[in-house]
């Protein structure tokens, strides 16, 4: 285990960070959405898929896992925003009809976490996961 950690590069740590951020986002989403319109399975599954692939990526660095993790976080992010269109419309219009403007804060919070995970995932895609691989390029 320590040997593995020793060979982790920055990319691995960013992957772990993306996972942690994603976990926070997922937990917040589940706790919030269950009493506000219900859980959208696409959002939840997006988070979960992304985190699963991040775990797999740590264990076995393969490009496809980076990409799939990015897809997962992106799916969670954009599905949540799509579900919340009515609320944002209300906010901009200053009315309370299509959504629930009192939940803007929660929606943005979860969205930010999903976005951060997605961006980290993209960044990680440009980086190696293991230092040993870096050594090989020298």
């Amino acid at each position: 285990m320590m040997n593995r950690i020793k060979i982790f590069s920055v990319g691995a740590y960013l992957t772990i960070l993306a996972m942690l951020v994603g976990v926070i986002g997922l937990v917040r989403y589940i706790s919030w959405s269950s009493s506000h319109g219900g859980v959208d399975p696409i959002v939840a599954v997006g988070f979960v898929i992304a985190m699963v692939f991040d775990v797999v990526l740590i264990c076995r660095d393969d490009s496809i896992f980076c990409i799939l993790a990015t897809v997962g976080y992106s799916l969670a992010l954009f599905s949540l925003l799509a579900d919340s269109v009515g609320t944002f419309v209300d906010m901009f219009q200053g009315i309370n009809m299509f959504g629930d403007v009192t939940q803007i804060g929660n929606i943005v919070f979860i969205s930010v976490f999903a976005a951060v995970s997605a961006v980290l995932s993209i960044i990680v895609s440009f980086m190696p996961i293991r230092k040993a691989e870096c050594e090989c390029t020298k």
């Binding site: 992106s74 799509a82 009315i95």
Partner: protein
Amino acid sequence: MRRKKLWTGLASLTAFLLTFSIVGTNCMYGYAGTVNGALGIRTSKVVNEDGDTADTTYFESEYGELNSENLQKLIADTYDESVLEEEEGAVLLKNDNNALPLSENEHSVTLFGHAFAQPLYKAASAGSNGYKGEYCIDPYTAFENAGFEINSILMDAYKSSKTERGTGAFDFVSQTSSILSMGEENKAFYTSDIKSSWENNYNDVAIVMFAREGGEGVELATEDSEGMSQLSLHEDEKNLLQMIKDSGKFKKTIVLLNTGNPMELDWLDEYSVDACLWIGEPGQRGFEGVVNLLTGKADPSGHLTDTYAANSLSSPAVVNASGNNQTWANIDEVLSKTTEGENDISFYDAQAEGIYVGYKYYETRYEDVVLGQGKADSTKGSSTGKAWSYADEVTYPFGYGLSYTDFTQTLDSVETGEDTVNVKVTVTNTGSAAGKSVVQVYAQTPYGDYEKQNHVEKSSIQLMNFAKTGMLEPGQSETLEISCDKYLLASYDHTKAKSYIMSEGDYYISIGTDAHDALNNILASKGAEALIDADGSYVKGNAGNTYAWKESFDSEKYSVSRYSDTKVTNLFDAADLNYWIDGAVTYLSRSDWDGTYPVEAVKVSATDEMITEMNGEYYEKPDDAPSLKDVVLGENKDIPLASLIGAKYEDKAWDEYLSQFSLSELASLVADNFGTGEITTVGKPAVVVGDGPDGVGGTFSKEKYGDGRDDTCFPCQLILASTYNKDLLKRRGELMGEECLYLGMECDWMPGGNLHRTPFGGRNFEYYSEDANMTYLCSIPEVEGMESKGVHAGMKHFAGNDQENNRQGIACFFNEQAFREGDLRCFEGALAVAKGQSVMQGFNRIGLRWCSASKALITDLLRNEWGFVGQVETDAVASGEPYKVHFVSTLAAGVNNYCIDFGGASSQAIVKAIEETDDGNLAGILKESAHQYLYTVVNSAVMNGYSVNSKVVSVTPWWQPVTTMIIILLSLLEVILLVILYRRKNKAENIIVEGV
């Protein structure tokens, strides 16, 4: 390796963008109607055959051809009209020593109040955004344009202040529900530097503006964060007024009230306010009118359409409404037994006030105090804790309004006929300035033994009609002949006759400067003494301005609808809480004010029967329902919708036309998305609608007309009503209809027709009055004006949506007299008299049933009794609350369209229900619904350009192929990147193997 990671990174980035594109495009398709509306895209066009010479302009613009030059004329007229409405609708409440108008020497002023920096042009609600752009005249600009020198130090200080008026909505920055902030600066804001700015300058006049803001979904607070009614004067405002008074620098203090709700105003003398002008919400151009009034360029002629109570909490309606709504005492049990959402089913409002809303309460109780009857002087409901006294309770009565000149009004004659009471009044300008005068005609009907025994309540005074003179020069007179509908004298007897009755006894017609003055005139004619005005001063009343006659009891004359020959009878017994729980509500009665005054909110538990009723499923397929196979569908004969132009609703041609539709095509019509889509197979064009009483909410086409500005944001509807000018009401309808012609809109959801049940209604600014007759009378010319342009005026919200908090699903209980003479009377003018062809419903329940699920409301009353032929649309179902998705029940009740059903959930649910249960009965209802809706479409300006030979052709919105192309390109790119990655990976593995 680096290059491999580059490809991986690019593939990841592309995957991110691709996900965004797919989800985003899917979302856009779901909201296609809204997206198209925002982008100004029409999804259908008409293609006419060459040589087709038929005249296809069914509704013409009064400006001629729709082009850029004529649009500018229209815009200019709407701006001028806005100023005129503000001038005639603002109400001068106080004007000591002729403080107003300001002379030319009084133009160096200080404008006090944060509201000047954050004026309330319009509260949050559907409508025009015109007040947000460059074509809006803010108050500072309006004063500067009129040559005023404004204290710029204070102006700049307000503008740079972080203080903001809050409506109580959620605040993103603070992550809390915002404080209901009056938005007034505190004492510390006025530093010595600021105070010194008016020491030697800008001190001709102190003009103070206060605002109170509600909005859609935002009720004003009966108790706000400062522990007081939002309509009372708050601490910072008191400090401001005191500071001005203490400074001793200003020759005059003028207060402007920038609000759609009646503030408590018993403090005006305390702070030495010389004049007070209520200006409503002036829209994007109205501040110019406000300044014209202050300078005397215009003479104030507006009158109140609400009672200004000394205590905003004093009306009996407040006890159960608004901030005092109750939840069921057994709410946990209710929630455990219901399928509806918690917010949809928890609240109720038992309207124990009965008919006694607004002036009907205050003036009736006053008469009973004067005549010593009904224990009216009880302390119950008294704001002072002492015997109830009119002077303690009312600051300004309904109909009140001052002018810069004086008028006398003389009742010349009254002729009572079979159906009308014709009143002739001569108005003379006895003052020294030109001005307009409003004649308000009131009536009193008898409250005798029959009424007391059968619980037929009577207001001591009621508005019958009104009219406004032209501009009268000093000394000039004008005689007005005003015809009053005798039907408005009838009362609804919901216990014995179960119909409208004419009571037996003495009837009175009276004219007065306001409702209280008219009532005093009647009391004087009865020989009553100790009459007072709102100040508490004794007055004599003028019996000469009254006319009395007798009527016999008649329960027949109005027992049959005058609109349709349908027998009139009780339809809403189940909307009375006493129907479900005996004795739950004691309705306020003038026979015993003390014994019946609602001192606390009604508290009840919902029975199992009530919970079942609230669960929203009412439709049952009849045993003899035909099969779906027996319903003629899909027999396309190339008959276009245009072939029905001019056809009567009953014309058999409709049957043949409607039989062309497939089931899914019929169902597609029910899902509204600010209009409905085209159906090319039956020649139905796409339809777009607007929304808003103060503006239709569109943007003109820069491409077509060279001007991409927003439609005009007029002054609020309450200002319009306060003009008491039917010409202006009609003109508003016409001008908004003209705007709809340029915007291609078939309908606008306006006017607002709900009641100011309490002073706290968040949307009172876009309704007319606390009085149902006033609403009835105002709506008729406005609706006729818009309908004359081929644009439907869809009055909203039908019926009983009188408050903004808890509006989704609140159960409103009432007795049928109160409902028919109150909330229903509000809509009767527009829908039954003016023949408006569209109506939007409300979020509230009629009793326990959502109003869109009430067959009694939509079919029995509206269509059958009132003879309404047209479109009934729900209020927005977009947010998908459970109580709104009983689509089969609401369709069967008589609904035609589901407002803002983005995803077409209603269409899908209805088709599924019909097919799964093989319900030909429901299919027939759907077909008839299509008939009702398409009848309004074919009788609108949307059909301009269509002849029987026209083809409706779908137009694919440009964004659809663009987004599709983006998805395709990103997908291809992703595939290429993945292939590259795959090949590089294989190559790397082969190198490793060879190395080994």
